[in-house]
Subunit: 410 residues, 2 copies
Amino acid sequence: MSSAISPLSVPFPDMPPIAGVTFATAEAGIKYKNRLDVFLALFAEGTTVAGVFTTSKCPSAPVDWCRQSLKGGSARALLVNSGNANAFTGKKGVATTTAQGQLAAEAAGCRPDEVFLASTGVIGEPLDASKFAAVLPDAARRAADGPWIDAARAIMTTDTFPKGATRSVKIGDATVTINGIAKGAGMIAPDMATMLSFVATDAAIAAPVLQALLSAGVVGSFNAVTVDSDTSTSDTLLLFATGKAPGAELVTDVADPRLAGFKAALDEVLLDLAIQVARDGEGARKLIEVRVINAASDQSAKRVAFSIANSPLVKTAAAGEDANWGRVVMAVGKAGEPADRDLLSISFGETRVAFEGERDPDYSEDVASAYMKNKEIVITADLGLGDGRATVWTCDLTKEYVAINGDYRS
Amino acid sequence: MSSAISPLSVPFPDMPPIAGVTFATAEAGIKYKNRLDVFLALFAEGTTVAGVFTTSKCPSAPVDWCRQSLKGGSARALLVNSGNANAFTGKKGVATTTAQGQLAAEAAGCRPDEVFLASTGVIGEPLDASKFAAVLPDAARRAADGPWIDAARAIMTTDTFPKGATRSVKIGDATVTINGIAKGAGMIAPDMATMLSFVATDAAIAAPVLQALLSAGVVGSFNAVTVDSDTSTSDTLLLFATGKAPGAELVTDVADPRLAGFKAALDEVLLDLAIQVARDGEGARKLIEVRVINAASDQSAKRVAFSIANSPLVKTAAAGEDANWGRVVMAVGKAGEPADRDLLSISFGETRVAFEGERDPDYSEDVASAYMKNKEIVITADLGLGDGRATVWTCDLTKEYVAINGDYRS
């Protein structure tokens, strides 16, 4: 499954160490020999944690495990593997997460309920927990505070480039750093697109506050990105706060004004990572930003935006560099949200192609067509109804997507 | 846009004349020269009519027109054109439908509100009504009671085969016939997939009863078929009842027991046509029937079935002849409907691949893989919760779909 790097890739940023976070990778031979397939991160005592997971009604066993561990609000270890998702594995899957939690806790010197787990890979195959016993003690001994690009690479599956984002910001007098890594809609085997992202900071933030910040942050970032409308059983986003930044004072109130800069920086890290996931969508050659403005409400705007972003006809038109605004009209119309044909305007980039329910009289197909040759395309739908707005990101739908996902499992 | 005939095509049936229905086709040069692009049908006095239309919030002008005409419940003419959808054409579009209604009424010798219109083709281009003036009087003179395959061909756009269905049945002592034709997810220009279907019978049925029968009939047929989840601005299904079958007596009550056979026959015609539309989905090489059983309710079952049928990952797996049940689990999980991972069973054909939340211990990948080579595939998801059930039909997602929809508009 080696493939060329996405034409939409971005360079990996310089990411400083995070005080209180160390990590290592290992080869456990979960599905293939001689492949990095385990990532272990260790967190200092006192680290708080927040998480957001797939909305799937059929989540994987590791997702169930994390939801349980999250109740304690405390994290000391994160164990991630590729090659096997431990999803739809019934009671065996639960036994595996229990064993993984025990093994990681022994390696990290913590309680099992301070361990967090994520798995990505094939579904329905039992995951052999003994593979972890062979590698975790050594991985814990080797754990170091960088380089973060190794962490980003270790969680890649068929992602074509490592994804990272970092910001530094003040909370009171302390300078804190936020580092995040993500893997996107790559496939293993191939089996299923799973999004995993792990973010760590040396800020000192109580777990309920951390959860509130993360839950708010995903709305405009990870929950505003779609590759193909499909939802994995295993999507996992975790945020760890070690509190080890020099001078860090514990923040216990989400309304604490000292958090303003941190909140903005966290939102930026999450959005940066989410857009990188869209940039590495399977077969993607174009990044599409869909802006819906003047909708009946923000929620309505987001539904319309996703209707456009998930439309196969819109996505194939983008792949064909076709300024096909008729398909955008179609996607607005099918969203089921308030819309008035005769108030609707649509633009590709700065070119307004439709205005008040008709083709814009000043529309130049040449200008619009030239714009569609860009690697990054902005589609704006102005519903002309209210002041609701939303922006979502997706990629085009290419023959490569079908090839990647239609190849027979080997 | 000539393309090979779909490998899933079925032969056109022998369709008898319908007493009270005549039709003709014409070349009006709407978008291209020397191409049949107009279809005119004439109905006997006293013909009743029912209709079901796109749920799009941005419907085409002809859809608005039909909704208005439908209030009268009486039909004398149907005018269909390809080449231009008269959608998103603002006030010009309304002027065009008004002119079309007048011209067709003159040709048919009826009132404009007894005329029904349907247009398919490019969006956002004004449709010149004068093109119809040149051809309708002659078409009306030439109108004949067959052959119906000509009618089915006349409404094709990039459909690869003509679609028809017919049934004969008794209402009381009278033998009545139901003929239906449809065009499917073909493209003009290419621009947008539009589904048009016209059904006629010589039964005598009052308009409100006809509407009740049609509204009920679409639930398990046209509203149970998806090609790519996209919804046209122009989807139109019309049912005409001339009452001219020898001995036909007017039925005025939907609960009339004499209607039982007719209702079943109508449902069969609608289902037959709807499945033919899925068989001719763009780039389709496999017909996929998705059955969801033992869901919390029928409605819930249908939502889960559409989640599976619209999943790009499920559809590409089918294209790749991959018995990838993990993707079916994913699609069940993302539907947002009640589902319990540990009660879920999934089958491909007769082969149960997953049982009670795990891979079926008796599952043979060889058997499942061999089954996926069939042109017609049945996927069954047993949710194990209640007695709700639904069946929907779709086709696979192939590179040809992307090619057809990603080619630049010429």
